[in-house]
């Protein structure tokens, strides 16, 4: 049964008085920030990170002023795109709205954040408004570097060679192109150098497109041009590509061919007329081009000076506060907590929860609680077979974020992959419910 807002707040209300085994003193948080703080918390970006932070702040600070600024009225949930490619969902069915935020007393502002003044502690928007903050959360997601691929423009990307990435949608366009291509056609997926968001999605995408082609165009093929030498869940994916997606007419070849590494796999240019892409060593012609450009932190993070030379935003993982600008926290795909941390909806949600707790502690001049983060990443090898990777992260004695070496890991390839596909859907439903209900 769905939990309504009253239940959510009632349950959270019970937290303050609770005495917990194994808890240290500073983990008991006062439900409200100090009264002299009136500006509250402003959040830029209504993705998985921004909303999780907003709801978590509200859970523990019933009277805190919380404002969420988001440029789009709707959000297309990237983790749901896999079921569009498998034909089980439409893009509309993975599109969500922000109406629920008001029910939690979160001010939703439909506008684009334009600048941050870290001295005056204000955010200004394209709409000409200014929002003061005590603490600011910036969670703008990623931005593409279209210039990295010669011949590609945002317009050509949107209309011809969809990346079908993040909340831009385009996944329905990509699926329509695959449906419409010749029966012996070729789908080309270009994978940018890491780090990029949803790091195993290109490989899952190859699997699901292969599954579709096997049913409808068994003589077609998929080429992955991958700027990276290796990739997550590689052994699991490659075993499945070889076994489950044999190319018709070939005894040993898979429908999926991958060219990996900077020289073999980095797409340098595309010719929109001939649909030929070039790497350093070869050229490939394709009927459908899913070109995913290199990525960096979203524009507002760059404009505000939150990024370093890497293009991402360095943060202290204990609080997710920027190491460059005080009182500004960065969450989600844009953040770099000093060690590789997955750019997934699940990890963003986990980090947002610890960041929100840390912000409430900081507003009350308390020590932030000891954090822990979990990432659970499901990938479908076919619509009915899934694999997962789990990772548990903590801080070491020096305050550095580390993946726990004795925990986590990959699915057993001989395990219950059908059950994991069922759990992948449940994982999605629960994450969506937590974010958009």
């Amino acid at each position: 049964m769905a939990l309504n807002r009253r239940d959510f707040l009632k349950l959270s209300g019970s937290v303050a008085g609770l005495s917990l085994a194994g808890c240290v003193e500073e983990t008991v948080i006062k439900p409200e920030p100090a009264p002299e703080l009136t500006s509250g918390v402003v959040i830029i970006g209504g993705g998985f990170a921004g909303i999780a932070a907003a709801k978590q702040l509200r859970r523990h600070a019933p009277k805190l002023k919380i404002t969420l600024i988001e440029a789009n009225p709707r959000y297309i949930a990237a983790p749901g795109m896999r079921w569009v490619l498998s034909g089980q969902r439409s893009q509309d069915s993975i599109t969500y709205q922000y109406n629920h935020l008001r029910e939690y007393g979160i001010d939703f502002v439909l506008d684009r954040a334009q600048a941050i003044d870290p001295v005056a502690k204000t955010v200004s928007t394209e709409g000409g408004k200014s929002f003061p903050y005590d603490r600011l959360i910036v969670s703008p997601g990623i931005e593409f570097d279209f210039t990295a691929i010669e011949g590609l423009t945002p317009e050509i990307s949107r209309t011809r060679f969809p990346h079908a990435w993040r909340a831009d949608g385009q996944i329905d366009l990509l699926f329509q192109q695959i449906q419409a291509m010749p029966s012996r056609g070729r789908v080309l997926i270009s994978v940018p150098p890491r780090p990029f968001s949803a790091v195993d999605a290109p490989y899952e995408r190859a699997s699901l497109i292969a599954h579709y082609l096997q049913q409808h165009k068994p003589k077609a093929e998929i080429v992955l041009l991958d700027a990276n030498e290796d990739f997550p869940k590689q052994a699991l994916f490659e075993a499945s590509w070889k076994k489950d997606y044999r190319r018709r007419g070939y005894r040993r070849r898979s429908m999926i061919t991958r060219h990996g590494g900077a020289n073999l796999g980095t797409v340098r240019s595309v010719d929109p007329n001939t649909q030929v892409v070039m790497t350093d060593s070869e050229e490939f012609k394709a009927d459908v081009l899913n070109l995913i450009p290199p990525q960096r932190a979203g524009k507002i993070a760059v404009t505000a000076g939150l990024t370093d030379a890497s293009g991402w935003c360095p943060v202290n993982p204990r609080t997710w506060e920027s190491t460059l600008i005080a009182n500004v926290h960065v969450l989600g795909d844009a953040a770099y907590p000093g060690a590789p941390f997955p750019k997934t909806a699940f990890a963003a949600n986990s980090a947002a929860k610890s960041c929100a707790q840390a912000i409430i502690a900081l507003l009350n001049q308390r020590t932030p609680p000891e954090p822990i983060w979990i990432n659970t990443s499901y990938s479908l090898l076919s619509p009915k077979h899934g694999v997962s990777e789990a990772t548990v992260y903590r801080l070491d004695a020096q305050g550095r974020l580390v993946a726990m070496p004795d925990a986590g890991g990959l699915s057993d390839p001989k395990g219950k992959l059908a059950l994991e596909a069922v759990y992948a859907e449940s994982w999605y439903n629960n994450l969506i419910h937590e974010t958009f209900q």
């Binding site: 954090p371 903590r394 986590g408 219950k416 759990y423």
Partner: protein
């Protein structure tokens, strides 16, 4: 020939690693994570406040000793699982006990309304 050399090298290397890493690990125990942050991570898969919207089991209303025992069995690898063994391996016994207590307080069997 090469393999044989590698094999000979392997065991002394492993024992050296054990000697070096054991006191290191003991010298820097990780502090217990905040119980709420632990439990909120559970909710991402098992549903907000433990009420699942899918086939992942709900945690709401489960008895405290059942939750604790189940998590400890996952950690020990004695209970079959798809993913929970890998996650529970990252938790201390004290954290498991605290999560179980917290989940019962946060998501009681009856809401009383």
């Amino acid at each position: 020939m090469r393999m044989a050399m590698l094999y000979q090298l392997k065991w002394p290397l492993i024992s050296l690693f054990c000697v070096l890493s054991a006191p290191l690990a003991a010298a820097t125990p990780m502090p217990a994570a905040d119980t709420r942050l632990l439990a909120y991570n559970c909710f991402s898969c098992h549903g907000e406040n433990g009420t699942s919207q899918g086939r992942t089991p709900s945690l709401r209303g489960l008895p405290v000793n059942y939750l604790e025992l189940t998590l400890k069995d996952y950690k020990a690898g004695t209970r079959p699982a798809t993913i929970m063994q890998r996650i529970a391996a990252g938790l201390s016994d004290a954290e498991i006990a605290a999560i179980a207590q917290f989940l019962v307080s946060e998501s009681p069997a009856e809401k009383g309304e």
